[in-house]
């Protein structure tokens, strides 16, 4: 297992290098610079600003000095927010976004697994159709629609929950978590239904039933472990997606997270911020993929065998 993980981490290095290089070239070739503004910027100021951020150097030189900085863990200063550096900005939003992502994931797993398992227990009956139709609607409903809808119902009409903010008013985390989690809940429901259906038809489940085990034990102990493998494989990329894709929800609910920085950085041509967040998210995706693969191996005896066989 250790060898497997190490190998995967080594593979990540060229991947990250490609990501950095592509992003670097793309941001520098986009029209409009970080300092262009509505009001004309005097030439002298532009020169001074570019010198301050080393933008006056040839591109290859900028590229290598950036790579050097990244190796040292320094993602550079933000162009848009003078005085803030990218590390600091990422750290300021990361906690919030990770927390939001975690709650959303909890919501997604909770709703998704229950719906999926319930549906799989009586396939092609109402107990299957109702949760799966709901899941389909959940997948189709974009968060920029669901968010404001929930706010209108629970925030403004019923006045049960706050309409925006994060960690300011009790209960302000509920609506964002549900909004962000619902789409993923729907995926998880479908995945877990599929996984469970396959497992429930296997011989060992029949054996368990024949032994007279309670349905609770059959589902909870024997079937879930195998039935949820597709869900686990989905969780890693999903969590990274949640972090990167939380922009819409963060905007709707006025949440000081990372997603907002990511999108704004692109609009502002904040080169270091775009690069920094991209590198950061790329690393996260690689790590979460690795984690979910390791979890899948642990859950699936067949895969475990394979990994052992390889090493």
């Amino acid at each position: 297992m250790f060898k497997f993980a190490l190998g995967r981490l080594l593979q990540a290095i060229p991947v990250l290098l490609v990501v950095i290089t592509m992003t670097f070239l793309l941001v520098h070739s986009a029209p409009g610079g970080p300092f262009s503004a509505d009001k004309a910027v005097p030439e002298a100021v532009l020169v001074a600003l570019e010198a301050q951020y080393n933008l006056d150097q040839p591109l290859w030189q900028q590229y290598f000095s950036y790579l050097g900085d990244v190796l040292r863990g320094d993602l550079g200063p933000s162009f848009k927010y003078p005085g803030r550096d990218v590390n600091e900005l990422i750290m300021s939003g990361l906690g919030t976004t990770a927390e939001l992502g975690f709650y959303a994931m909890m919501v997604a797993i909770f709703i998704g697994v229950i719906a999926g398992v319930t549906a799989s227990m009586r396939p092609n009956t109402m107990q299957d159709y109702v949760p799966m139709t709901a899941a389909m609607i959940g997948i189709c409903m974009p968060s920029f629609l669901l968010g404001p809808l929930l706010v209108l119902i629970f925030g403004i009409h019923l006045e049960w929950l706050p309409v925006s903010g994060w960690n300011e008013i009790p209960g302000d985390k509920i609506l964002p978590a549900i909004t962000l989690g619902t789409g993923y809940a729907a995926y998880i429901a479908r995945l877990s239904r599929g996984g469970m259906l396959e497992v429930l038809s296997q011989d060992y489940i029949r054996t368990a039933r024949a032994k007279g085990l309670s349905e609770f034990l059959i589902i909870g102990k024997h079937a879930l472990r195998g039935g949820l493998i597709p869900v686990v494989a989905f969780l890693g990329p999903a969590f990274a997606g949640l972090l990167g894709g939380s922009f819409v929800v963060e905007t709707i609910f006025q949440i000081p997270g990372l997603g907002r920085f990511y999108v704004q950085a692109a609009f502002n041509r904040d080169y270091t911020m775009i690069l920094g967040t991209t590198v950061f998210f790329a690393t996260l995706i690689i790590l979460f993929n690795l984690l979910s693969d390791m979890l899948a191996i642990w859950l699936n005896p067949k895969l475990r065998q394979q990994v052992r066989g390889d090493s």
């Binding site: 409009g32 610079g33 003078p82 706010v151 309409v163 302000d172 509920i174 907002r260 920085f261 609009f267």
Partner: protein, 546 residues
């Protein structure tokens, strides 16, 4: 058995889930109710400020926060917009209008208690003019003798610039030419003083973006001081007890929220999380109007929405063509049916009543005359007129406007017009490199004077971007207007210049902006002025009786 399990399992989990979700729930006081009790104003501020350094910052959201934290020599009266004493107690202007002598108040203090005097201004202004600092508003200083030369690096000794501290409490400023709007400039944050010791503690004077503006470090001279700055969450300011006018300040603090999304902001307002919104969603304005909701405040704004015409394009070089285009935009129709938020049709660049100036009205909606002009230019009934493109930055409002104008030109002139939207920075790039035919633009005044709208179109004006150049126009703005003897005479020169501009029409004015806010009834004594300027020292909160 199976049935029993599934239902009990489901019930148990549902109960768990509900308790998780509702665990945070509880009755809590809204921001507005709490603020009214504690004297804290909750203010929707648009976006996260880029910087709170007055010599680095450039935007309106930054302005709202900086004016709470700092003060200049003078500030504007919130009703008349005329200058009133700030750090300066009084001032005199020499007969030739070139030498301003300010007497500073002796009780001015920095927010850390340090004495605040004339030397602070000399040092601060020498800092603001360092090219390395990248101060985009440095041109505010250019009326001062040698300020521009110092900024360009032609002279390095700040002694030669026309700013002197005659003694601790007397500041003398010498201008190149009489500049009737000079006092107005002093209220712009780019001319605010900064605290030398604090800045030097965190870096060089001309170093951009040091940590002196962070929470815990910031030292200012305004009615409030920085309490917390949580990125993308809120900036909180609290009463500065060292402020000379502290006794008159009624608010105990202000919380500025970076309300980037205007629909979210409106929902926050409805849920009483804000006293004041930065904006109102366009499609909500009519709803508030129909409901006769007193929360909606719409006020004319010192800004003009217009189209630039690139006069370097062959078919747009002919002023008859430009006039034909200008005469076939039905501005009343646009403001009434497209914009619908009280905007005023504009027939000149300068908004009406800019310090007593009413621009000449030579432009009108006249399709008949326009067709004739186009025919005279060689395009009878639009025949042979090249396909022309309107460029705008991606935005629903700009798109609607462009579609409507495209329709008008097609209908009245029978010409083919296409639309091109570009993302903001790409659009800026196209516009400043002259890679467009007609492009959307807007200009918001920095100070209340026609000069601010008209000197944009000087031949080498950085914001001109149309390629239009008229030496006589330049002479009027640069030489004749500054030496006018009286205010009336000066306004007459501007009228003459603007008549020339509107005759040649390198720009097509469309409407005068309005500002839109939602204001909670507990927020009192707000000002209504064309600069959308509020004085936090005058505003107060009054809880509703219930």
């Amino acid at each position: 058995m199976k049935q029993q399990f599934s239902s009990s399992f489901f019930t148990l989990l549902s109960a768990l889930f509900m308790s998780l979700l509702l665990s945070g729930c509880g009755s809590s006081e809204s921001n507005v109710a709490e603020g009214n009790r504690t004297g804290i104003l909750h203010w929707g501020n648009g976006t996260e400020p880029q910087s709170l350094d007055p010599h680095v910052a450039t935007g309106v959201p930054e302005h709202h926060i900086i004016v709470a934290l700092m003060e200049g020599l003078v500030h504007k009266n919130s009703k008349t917009l005329e200058p009133e004493p700030g750090v300066a107690k009084s001032w005199t202007v020499s007969d030739d209008g070139r030498v301003y002598t300010f007497e500073l108040r002796d009780d001015a203090r920095w927010s850390n208690g340090d004495v605040h005097n004339a030397h602070d201004f000399v040092w601060s202004w020498s800092r603001a003019l360092q090219p390395a600092l990248g101060n985009l508003y440095a041109y505010m200083y250019f009326p001062i003798v040698n300020a521009h030369e110092f900024y360009k690096g032609e002279i390095t000794d700040f002694e030669q610039v026309g700013v002197k501290a005659l003694d601790d409490l007397t500041l003398q400023i010498t201008l190149k030419n009489p500049t009737p709007y000079f006092l107005q400039l002093l209220d712009h944050y780019s001319m605010y003083p900064v605290h030398q010791a604090t800045i030097e503690k965190f870096g060089r004077a001309d170093e951009r973006g040091t940590r002196w503006t962070y929470q815990g470090n910031f030292v200012g001279n305004g009615p409030f001081k920085l309490k917390t700055w949580e990125i993308n969450r809120a900036i909180e300011v609290e009463r500065n007890t060292f402020f000379h006018g502290n006794d008159e300040v009624k608010l105990n603090g202000i919380v500025f929220y970076p309300t980037e999304n205007v629909t979210t902001e409106e929902r926050m307002f409805r849920a009483e999380q804000l006293h004041y919104t930065n904006d109102v969603p366009i499609d909500k304005v009519q709803t508030y109007r129909d409901a006769n909701d007193p929360a909606l405040k719409v006020v004319p704004y010192l800004g003009t929405y217009y189209y630039r015409i690139n006069v370097r394009e062959p078919h747009l070089q002919d002023k008859r063509v430009r006039r034909a285009l200008g005469k076939t935009i039905d501005r009343e129709q646009l403001t009434e049916h497209v914009l619908k938020a009280g905007q005023i049709p504009a027939y000149a660049m300068t908004p009406p009543n800019t310090r007593g100036y009413y621009p000449p009205v030579s432009l009108s909606f006249d399709p008949e005359a326009a067709r004739q002009l186009l025919a005279d230019a060689g395009y009878p009934n639009g025949e042979g007129f090249p396909v022309t493109e309107i460029l705008y930055n991606t935005n629903e409002g700009h798109r609607k406007m462009a579609v409507a104008i495209q329709q008008m030109w097609r209908e009245h002139l029978n010409i083919e017009v296409t639309l091109l939207n570009q993302e903001w920075k790409v659009y800026l790039d196209s516009e400043s490199s002259g890679d467009y035919q007609i492009s959307r633009a807007g200009w918001i005044g920095d100070y209340v004077d026609p000069n601010n709208f008209l000197d944009m179109f000087l031949c080498d004006g950085g914001n001109n971007r149309t390629g239009w150049c008229n030496e006589e126009y330049d002479r009027l703005i640069l030489e004749v207007a500054p030496t006018a003897k009286t205010h009336e005479e000066r306004l007459a020169v501007f009228t003459q210049a603007e008549t020339m501009l509107m005759d040649d029409l390198p720009v097509l004015p469309i409407y005068t902006y309005t500002t839109k806010h939602l204001v909670h009834p507990s927020l009192k004594n707000l000002a209504n002025n064309i600069m959308d300027m509020q004085r936090y020292t005058e505003i107060y909160l009054e809880g509703e009786e219930d």
